[in-house]
Symmetry: C2
Subunit: 349 residues, 2 copies
Amino acid sequence: MAQQHLDPTDPTAGVVTGDALAGYLRAQATEFLRALRLHRETGVAASAEESVDAARALRRSARRISGSLHTFRPLLEAGWSEEMRPELAWLSGTWGLEHSYEARLERLLAALHRLSGSTAFPAQAVDPAGPPGARGMAAPERGNLTVGAAKAGALLERQLTLARTRAHSTALQALGSSRFHAVADKVAVLASEVPLTPAASSTDLRPQAGAAEERLTDAIAALPLVTAGHPYNAEALIHGLSPDPSPHPQDGPWHQVRLLLRLHRYAREVLYGPGAPVDVRLLAAGRSLNRHRDASEAAAAAAQAARTPRIAPATAYALGVLHADQRHEVEAARFAFQQSWQKQAVSAP
Amino acid sequence: MAQQHLDPTDPTAGVVTGDALAGYLRAQATEFLRALRLHRETGVAASAEESVDAARALRRSARRISGSLHTFRPLLEAGWSEEMRPELAWLSGTWGLEHSYEARLERLLAALHRLSGSTAFPAQAVDPAGPPGARGMAAPERGNLTVGAAKAGALLERQLTLARTRAHSTALQALGSSRFHAVADKVAVLASEVPLTPAASSTDLRPQAGAAEERLTDAIAALPLVTAGHPYNAEALIHGLSPDPSPHPQDGPWHQVRLLLRLHRYAREVLYGPGAPVDVRLLAAGRSLNRHRDASEAAAAAAQAARTPRIAPATAYALGVLHADQRHEVEAARFAFQQSWQKQAVSAP
């Protein structure tokens, strides 16, 4: 780990070569296999916290492997890399879906309680480790809600629990599929042998890492940050009643920056090693963008639920309030991102 | 106008006595009578802009007379003053209602268009000078709205136009009533003869004005300004789905500050004369509080409309989005007030 604590802006600093990338990929592959073993041991259908943690660790290392393959593409065998990435994307996509439906429901139910002025809502009312179907609020807790809010909550719970159960089945099927076994085998090989190009050992990683950072800063420069920096600019809800039922197109560039920020963070991990100090401002920016994504998807779920046929007007009203609330969360997240990014720009060397 | 440009914090400055109050009240009473004459000349049912301006000027001077009677109570004949104030409050209340229904509808229709991502909404689509019933958007303009937004707009227009028409009739009846003639007669007397107490001519007004300012600063100190200063604190919508159908009790203290700020402004007018420089920060704070009040009432109107029996779910959904949007306007107005007031505190001597 001689490459730790290198400053990429320092031209006299030592070169970080493909060997560092190989070390990073081996470590992530090992972590992937460890998580997979743990997940199998704790039981596929287990509701234990360990199983959830294992699934999270699995997705986490899959994202890092996939991201590094993308950023440092020229240093890796092209055929292998091109085969590997879509498989990793399929895997983390399939495995992530269940968790995101669960988190979305939790976010929306918490918002409904906040909007009802209820202080009785326990932060952990939706147990992320519980089995599907057993989640959600107990009946007495619903007593704090108006009829509309309670019905909206029940509708969202029904729809998102159904989606979550389906995602759970799909993930289980995936886990038993030959496609999954092929990916797992490839990751097992990666844990001991990284298919670098012949020149990779003497190739500097920093230009690739720099290009990843540049893609990030370019994408951020294209964001409407001046608007985002003005609190209560009312931009996020501007299409709140638009006839277009698709998710707000204005969110796209922010989602893209979220992905580019992640790639930049992983590239830094490759360069500086896992023991290097974490850039807290990058973390803060990333958290704001996660919140942006979560609120955006929660708002869309509320709007979607409101299109359910034959719902009561009170239910639809509550879903409208909820949708607008989450769109304001989107706006708040953009403001928070602008604030954290501004700080970074000022204090950067 | 020797009292102009006095600094009330300067103990060596000249005393402002009851004579200044008498001058102010005479001027406001004269303005009231001028506006009343103008209003009668332009025609009671006229849709002309002059009629609207006259009504506004009438309310404006009624508020100033009433406010000064309140702030400088000890300098005026108690019996007369106690008889006069409720009559002036009745008058400006009766006359203000029509205008506020109209402004509320205009605000809500503009918000519906903004929320539909429509840029086609003309700022003056609701002509404030037009006759009741002829207002609102023409049918082709509604084409930009979704079914829900259009139906919500039509429902609000129906309800608020009805309320406005009733308020108009009430104001017309009031104008022909003996109660109104009695107030007008009293104001006519006030224009030439102000019923000061015998001691008023040698009494300093500044302690009373100072007490009015103190009531204001005390009320502001009790506001949750720290929270308001944090953008996106999500406080204003906290009871957005609460079972309590009454207007948000959290708005009360802000409405109270709005009234106290007005009394403070009028007291300054008495002390420094109408030609004195306007405190732009007081104006900014007052504008924020007007916006707060308007958004609060618009949000309540949207919630109220959503309780109309047998509305379509799409209409209810649009009203929910609209309600939340206006509650966020409430929050934005509090933030703006906090910002303008903070500035004042910093730059005050």
